[in-house]
Amino acid sequence: MYTQSLDLPNTDAGNTDSAGLPTEAAFLARIARDEKIEPQDAMPEAYRKSLIRQISQHAHSEVVGMLPEGNWITRAPSLKRKEILLAKVQDEGGHGLYLYSAAETLGASRDDMIDALHSGKAKYSSIFNYPTDSWADIGTIGWLVDGAAIMNQVPLCRCSYGPYARAMIRVCKEESFHQRQGFDIVRALCEGTPAQKQLAQESVNRWWWPTLMMFGPHDSDSEHSGQANAWGIKRISNDDLRQTFVDVTVPQAAFLGLTLPDPLLEWNAERGHYDFGPLDWDEFWRVVRGDGPCNAERLNDRVEAFEKGRWVREAAVAHAARHAARAVSIASEKIAA
């Protein structure tokens, strides 16, 4: 699972809530008491909208996230890896589904959310707009990208909105398998032939910086973070999460014998953390705004799958309707007899 969503700008984010003002104070008091908000509860319109935006972006990220890894299912180099990868990509679909379900409890329809994705209005995690050029990328995505995602999503298990928190608990349970299988792929490469080791190093070189960007902009530049904190949707800041991720990942890379592509990466004893170099925010915004290496391809794949599936979904609806009508007519015949 891949959240970066809270921090992404949206054309119709709409944080203006005039009607909700009278309840705002009471609502914030509930949040402050750590009460969970459930679907039928009164909530400020801005809270509802913000959640729909975040949860649907999160769901889109899961579903789009199936594509870069799915790219290697047919070429996985062993049957064991093929099986694991297939199960993993399938899980991402499941995560998308749990999250769409959570958003639907807020009155959003899945059709509308998918429309927003397909029309380019809704965003998804920019990490999936990078290509998976080698098998090693499948390992790196699991190890680094899923690792970063887990760090983002564990706090969401305690978020104020009940259905989102519950979906995240389910997602988190499944996600730790994802990170471990990724680490396992990279480890096998690092313990393998020189050519395999090189694949792993090149892959980490490609994915390290985009992974750090997954935590979103600096706290000072984060458009939605302040409000999200107050609402109990976001619990830990972007920069704090990013620092934690760097701190846990550096020793893992050392264990694998891999170099992280940052000359400024250094332990800072005073802070008790690793210092690391500046991120390329121009690249970040370019990819978020649709100009990444694979934005068009990803969206095109999603739209194509959806359009090609339309007649299938329609057939199921038509058959169900006819089946139900038949059941009614049989029942009325029985009553008449």
Partner: protein, 98 residues
């Protein structure tokens, strides 16, 4: 490119019994063309890790819920009926467990 009602499946709530002897518990929802379809899809979506031995599905729009604004009136009065709980009663030590 937009969605159409002809291709939209209905929303169902899914309940799973995790093992024989336990209650069915709400686990989430999914879209399906009818209830029988929802049961088969729930098996694929919600029991991939042996989470269940039995599945119920209910059309989401068939659920009637209590009013959250009535929550205090509905449920707070029960707080004072402490005599309903076994811990309300002192049992002499000589008696032991009861």
């Amino acid at each position: 490119m937009s969605t159409s009602p002809e291709s939209s499946w209905s929303l169902f709530e899914v309940f799973i019994r995790s093992k024989q002897g336990l209650d069915h518990k709400h686990v989430g929802s999914l879209h399906a063309s009818d209830a029988a379809h929802a049961v088969t899809l729930a098996r694929d979506v919600y029991t991939r890790r042996q989470e269940g031995v039995s599945i119920w599905v209910v059309p989401s729009n068939a659920i009637t819920a209590s009013d959250p604004d009535q929550r205090a009136d509905n449920f707070d009065p029960m707080a004072s009926k402490i005599y309903r709980h076994p811990t309300f009663y002192d049992i002499p030590e000589e008696i032991g467990h009861m």
